[in-house]
């Protein structure tokens, strides 16, 4: 899922300052799972902004609403009935959701309340980790299900480097060495021979080389 964190309240206040009727818009999907932009967080942010506005004697109306998903137009259209009441939308979606809403309602500023972070795994309650860069050419098979691009600090394809000590990375002794993890995993199912191959540098053409990426599936179209 996509992970995100709320921007500092001062930054959010700065962005919404020119507007008087603001819709705080939550997204009940990925950002709800990572406790950044779901219904609860939307209520918290809207309440916080209203309180600050009252403290500053600002004449502003701040209301809240949460869509199931902001990155899917079929859900975004639900705003049709209410959007005219507002002169700005403060979106608690990821960057994809913010832009999907902005694409649909071009006359209204859609302001991001979150910083979108990474494709995350929920490792434990309150802990999300980055294990995938979305490179467009998955190599997990060769490396025992551990991505050296996302999890090795140096993104080495032929590791480990000399900074691996007792299974930890030299950048921080709390960070597991991805290459130690790769070797351990491959050894467990008898596939260490996959490391006899010398892997060439990553070809990034499938990630950003061709500009913004898109997927077209004619069988899925209406």
């Amino acid at each position: 899922m996509i992970t995100a964190e709320q921007k500092p309240i001062s930054e959010i206040r700065g962005m919404i300052k020119p507007y008087r009727r603001i819709l705080v818009l939550g997204c009940a999907s990925c950002v709800a799972e990572c406790a950044a932009g779901g219904q609860k967080e939307t209520a918290m942010l809207a309440s916080t902004l209203r309180m600050k506005a009252k403290m500053e004697n600002e004449d502003v109306a701040i209301e809240e609403y949460t869509l199931d998903r902001q990155c899917v137009n079929d859900f975004v259209v639900r705003l049709d009935d209410i959007i005219d009441k507002y002169d700005a939308v403060l979106s608690l979606a990821c960057g994809a959701g913010v832009q999907a809403v902005a694409e649909m309602y071009q006359e209204i500023p859609i302001i991001p309340a979150l910083n979108t972070e990474f494709l995350g795994e929920t490792r434990a309650q309150g802990l999300w980790v980055e294990n995938c860069l979305g490179c467009g050419d998955c190599i997990l098979y060769y490396f025992g299900g551990v991505c050296p691009l996302a999890r090795c600090s140096k993104q080495l394809f032929n590791g480990p480097c000399g900074g691996s000590v007792n299974g930890k990375c030299e950048i921080n002794r709390e960070v597991p060495c991805a290459w130690q993890t790769i070797i351990d995993r491959l050894a467990k199912f008898g596939a260490l021979d996959r490391l006899e191959t010398i892997y060439p540098p990553k070809n990034w053409a499938k990630k950003q080389g061709g500009g913004p990426r898109k997927i077209v599936r004619e069988d899925q179209e209406k």
């Binding site: 500092p8 309240i9 001062s10 609860k40 209520a43 918290m44 309440s47 916080t48 209203r50 309180m51 600050k52 009252k54 403290m55």
Partner: protein, 141 residues
């Protein structure tokens, strides 16, 4: 001489607090009038930061939670979660210039069990020094 300002309190509490049944709740609200609003919870872990924020936004000078003693939560860790949520709320209100003291948690003592009425009185005493909330626009300022 002007009457001493009476701070308004939103008080959330776990229903395992002694003498916190519905009859006692109504008695307390009758005694304190608009100064206190009581919100029973099945467990303090049910509390979310937006409950506290909404109380501060709409009517309360302070919002507090009464939770069970450590290790005595019926649902094992509801009181631990509640402590973290209260702390988070304190950070949020501090970020907009409200005093952290407007939000708090009282962990009940296992050795010295007190009733809801006793705890409510103690919390009202505790907040008696805070100024009227700048969030609330009252007729008397």
């Amino acid at each position: 001489m002007p009457e001493k300002y009476k701070q308004t309190l939103a008080l959330f509490y776990c229903q395992n607090v002694p003498e916190s049944d519905e009859a006692n709740r109504q008695l307390l609200e009758k005694e304190y009038g608009k100064q206190i609003r009581l919100f029973p919870l099945p467990c303090s872990g049910r509390l979310e930061p937006f409950h506290l924020l909404r109380a501060l936004e709409e009517f309360a000078d302070a919002a507090y939670l009464i939770a069970c003693p450590e290790g005595a939560c019926r649902y094992f860790e509801g009181n631990k979660r509640a402590q973290k949520r209260v702390q988070r709320t304190r950070e949020i209100i501090s970020g907009i210039g409200l005093e952290k003291e407007r939000v708090g948690i009282v962990i009940r003592s296992a050795d010295n069990p007190r009733t809801l009425a006793e705890l409510a009185w103690e919390i009202l005493e505790k907040i008696s020094g805070i100024d009227p909330s700048p969030v609330l626009k009252r007729a008397n300022g």
